[in-house]
Every structure is written in C-alpha cells, then in structure tokens.
Symmetry: C2
Subunit: 343 residues, 2 copies
Amino acid sequence: MTTITNPHPAPTLEDVARAAQVSTATVSRCLNTPDKVSESTRLRVMEAVGRLGYAPNFGARAMASRRTRTIGAVIPTMENAIFARGLQAFQEELRTLGYQLLVASSSYRQDIEEEQIRSLVARGADGLLLIGHDRAPQVTEFLQQRGLPVLVTWAYDPAQAGVSVGFDNRRAMRALAEKTLDLGHRTITVITAPLADNDRARARVDGIRDAITARGLSVAGLPVIETDYGIETGGVAFETLMQAHLRPTVVMCGNDVLAVGAVKRARMLGLSVPRDVSITGFDDIDIASVVDPALTTVHVPHRAMGSAAARLLIRMIEEHGAVTSQELDAHVTWRDSLAGPPG
Amino acid sequence: MTTITNPHPAPTLEDVARAAQVSTATVSRCLNTPDKVSESTRLRVMEAVGRLGYAPNFGARAMASRRTRTIGAVIPTMENAIFARGLQAFQEELRTLGYQLLVASSSYRQDIEEEQIRSLVARGADGLLLIGHDRAPQVTEFLQQRGLPVLVTWAYDPAQAGVSVGFDNRRAMRALAEKTLDLGHRTITVITAPLADNDRARARVDGIRDAITARGLSVAGLPVIETDYGIETGGVAFETLMQAHLRPTVVMCGNDVLAVGAVKRARMLGLSVPRDVSITGFDDIDIASVVDPALTTVHVPHRAMGSAAARLLIRMIEEHGAVTSQELDAHVTWRDSLAGPPG
DNA sequence: TGCCTTGATGTAAGCGCTTGCATTACGATA
DNA sequence: TATCGTAATGCAAGCGCTTACATCAAGGCA
C-alpha cells in the first residue's frame, strides 16, 4: 500500500492560531466561549478561521471535551414512511435543543442493529433512540454497562424494562379487532410482517387474539401469514388467503403497506372491498387515505412521538434523572375498507 | 457548573491491555490486524474486550489513523419517499463496500444544509453525497478547499461543474409534456415545489416550457403554482387552478405527492380524472400506482441511483481518480391519469 | 507609590487511539 | 555453539482539541 500525502490537509487550530498570532487556547475560546476573549482578538481570529476554511475536528473535540451533543438512532429502514416521519420530527426537535442526530438502519436484522448500535456508541453518542424492545441480551447488557441513556420508541409496553415513548400496539389492534367482531365478522385472517425479532408486529397480532378470546371465540384456527414489508408482498399474501376453502370475510393487516397491497390485489381479483371482503391496516400513513377504498386503520401519532422522544431523551441525558415512560394515544380511524361481512 | 463524575467510564484500550496483560499496541493489533498477533494472545485479549464491553473510541481512532470509512449524506427530508428509498440503497451498497453512512437532513433550507455539511466534514467524512446542484458558493468553495470527494445526485446536468449521478430532470419532464401536447392539450398548468434553491424543480418546469416552445406555442401565460411538498397542499393548489376563468385541461405536477393531492381534490370537487381534467406526476413512488386513477408519471430509478452513487463515490475516494458523471434513464410511465382534453 | 483585582492570554497536560521503530525470544542454519 | 531471521510484542510519539492553571498588563485604591 502506498501512502498518499493528502494534498489538502485540513487546517487545524494551530494553523488558525499561527495565522491570527495567538495561542491555540485563544482560538478555542473564540469558538466556544467568545465572551472570554477581547473583541479585537476575536475579530482577528474569526477572520483567520474564515480565510483558512477551518472546521473543528469533531473527534478531537469530543475527546477533549468528553461530550458530543449527538444522539444516535437505529431504525429498521428509512423506506418505511412511519419511521421516516417520526425520525424527521425527532431530528427537528433535537436541533432546537442543540443536538445532532446520527441515523443508522438495520434492515430489520438484529445483527446489523447490534453493529450499528456499537458504532454509534463508539462515535460518542450521548444517547440512543431505538425501535421496539426486541434485542439480543448482550446488546442490552452492553448498553447498561455503559450507563448510556437509551429510549425505546414505537412501542409502549409496561411489562418491558427500560424507558419508552410510544403507544400500546396490542391494545390498539385489539380495539380495531373488536370493532371488526362487532360488525359480525367471524372468519378473520391476518397478514403481518415477520414476527421474529419484532415485538411490535407480535403485539399487534396478539391484540387480535385478545379480542377474539374476549368474545369467547377460539383463536386456534386464526390464519396468520407472515410476509416481508411491501405492497406487492401484501397482495400475494392476500391472494393466498382468498384461495382458502373457508374464505375470510375480513383480512386484518399488520401495517398499511400490506393492507394497500391487499386492496389493490382485491380489485385485480375482481373483489369489491368492503362488500366482498373487508381489509384493515395499521399506522395511518398517507397511502392509507389515498387508496380506494380508503383504509380503516389505526392512527399513530408519528410526529408527536418523534418530538416527545427527543425531549424525553435529552432530559435523561442532561438531568440524569429517572424519567418515566410515556404513552401516546393510538386510535382507530374509521374509513371505507371495513364493513359488515358479506351476505 | 458542577462536574459530575461519570459513574460509567467507558473502558479504554488501556483497560483492556491491563486486563489481558499486554500493551495497548497489541490490543490495537488484535482489533485491526489480528494476523499479526499470536493466537493465544488474541484469545486472551478478545476475552477481555468482551468482558469489559470495550468499544473503540471512534474519534480517537479517526484521529490516529486519519481516516474514518464514513460517508456523509445531506438530504432535504427523510419524509420524502424518493430520498428514503435511494438512500436506503445507497447505504446498503456502502455497507458491502465497508463504509458507514451518516445522514443529515436540511428541511430544504440552504443554511441548514451548510451547517450539516460542515458538521459531516468535521466528523471526518471521507466523502459526501449531496442532492442537486443549488448551493451557496462559499459551501462549494469550502468543499473544494478541502479536496473532499463530493457526489451530487438526483440530478444530471452536464452544464454543471462537479461529478453527479442521476437523470436529466429537464429532459424527462419535457418528454412527458410532449406526450401531453401530442394528446391535444393546449391549456397546461403546473404545480411545483418551491423553485428557489431547488434546481431539480426548476429543471422540471423548464422541461415543460421547452416542450411548449418547441411546438411554436407561447410559454408566456403558463400558470405555475409553487407550494410546499404535501398531499394537502397539492390539493389546495389544484383547486385554485381549477377556479381560474380559463380552466386547464391538464395539470402537470412537479412530483407525485402533489399530483396525488390534485387527484384526491379533483374527486372531492366532483371532477373525473382524466375525463374532465388530466393530471401528471413525477418520481413514480408507490403512491403513484395506488391512487385511483393511477398516475401517469416519470419513473425514476431511485434504488439504482443510490447504489450507483455509492460505487462511484467510493471510487473517487479510494482511487483518487477522475470519475465522470453518470446519467441514468428516467422514462414516462403511462397510466390512467392522462388522456386527451375533454370535448 | 505599592498592592490587589480583574480581564486577557499563554502553557501544557491530557483525551484514546494507531503505528514506526526497537526489542525480545526462539528455532533454524552454518 | 554462534549467528541470524522471523514472529511477537512493547515503547512512545503524535493525531487536534479543551481546559485548569500560570502569567501578565492595566487600573483602582489606600
């Protein structure tokens, strides 16, 4: 390997100091505590900073000052609108609080999530935002060992350890399932994202089971198809379900994207929604009200969750105090894709 | 200010070295060049690493080794599906190449973009991915001064300096406008995202003008409404346009989200698309084929663009070579929202 | 005039890591 | 047995910054 001499060495504090005829300490103070420096010096220094195109080296600064004002977040994927929206709000709120956001994504894989968490910690994140509770024990242990503030979101499950801000996936889905049962549906089927390593998805399916059981009905034969996130995959799963000999009167989907796939496929199959079959979603993203018929779904306050998470996490960091989990409301949004069973 | 002694000091290389009874150099080698260390030592060291929950300090490592294997990207917003998708592909490709992605978002504001760029540079990014060409000159100058590899994407404009990978927004929109004119439309109107600081949006509108001018028609009276990104805002703009005394026969939208808003609003107003009015989009995101009628739009290869960008940028970094811009194909996708003018 | 306060600046010690060079141990070779 | 090569390890210099502490100049006051 040949060592290439960088033709553009980034200017350092020392370069600026030399250019402005002061010590590095003074330059540092100009940048961090300007009121501790005389006006004339400050002007001279800032001029040099501008002229040289100086930008402080973050690593060095973090090392010397032992904090970064940086928050790390690991989400499954940016392609999922629900995370994108919540994270955008999270970031905007962080900005007003003087923090920076570092985002990484895990593609729904626990091993990648672990790798990303370690990387964010190594980068000196002052706190971490994670999605859901499912996580290998050694990761939790690692985080605890570090005493790093960690906030879980997109989930609120009082049974879980750790602070979270989110909604109760299980209860919300149960509410929707109860409405479904109220309408007279008895042949329910479910399409969901893969359940392994995904407590939110599992909680939603459990919510459906809760509702069924509470009516004294049996949950034994409840068909549940797991499939990857996507409109197309949702459609395929829907078609499979409709080919069963006991055709469902309602297909409850674990998220809106799968539900939209189901609705589209229904039309292709010549089925009318909700006359021939009802379909429900979860999340209430844009697409839910765009599809025809519009989805009956569970509305999740993504943006509110993002900003609440930011405020809570910063409080954990700055006040070292014990904060408590916060539950947000997720309620059924009634639209057109759910009606009584046919006949 | 009271200084709080961190109750959980992160273990350092030295802690590991002490625990494993070796020097810090050996620990470092275990982590970076394991084959230069004897097996027995390596095992002992790795055990200590695991037991202490050691994670290397990124800042220190970057400082000592003078590289980070990190790429920075600044996008306008994660809420826009087109960026989310392209960036996801970008990140996946980077991972296979052994690089990490740092994402920041600018909310479509140049000043925030500048701030984020500087921050990513300060964090030691080995290269930068930026969206579009519009940028304050001092930013470009700063980047150039640093000699940092920068790749522009979501745009391909041979007239612009700098390397880019993307598609020709102007030509693509022109092609769509020509189809529109071919169908006999003469009363065209446009809904677009704000044009200031957004070369992609401007290029798209220019493409429409190109098509009109090429037919020998006048572009003078072409109504153009600028509005923020969103389904709702698109709907409002559409309604405004339809209230004009000379009602358009086609509304061309700068992106799919605005177009979907227009379609939804058309239905609310009791207008049939495309019988009463045609509507076109741009981007071909999921929502475009979900809305009814499905949007005639311009298909953009988001994921291909993301991975191509990753490969190109890494080549710029690792081979120091002059690479050339790469143009990807964006073509009209014909669906149902565009037909001939009424009557 | 001499002493003290105050504000502005400089000095230098790290922060945690990588890496060139020096050292050591040990088996192979003459 | 003496010599040498090689593999394994240690030593220590820095990477660019912050900050406690030292220093210094300039007034203010008795």
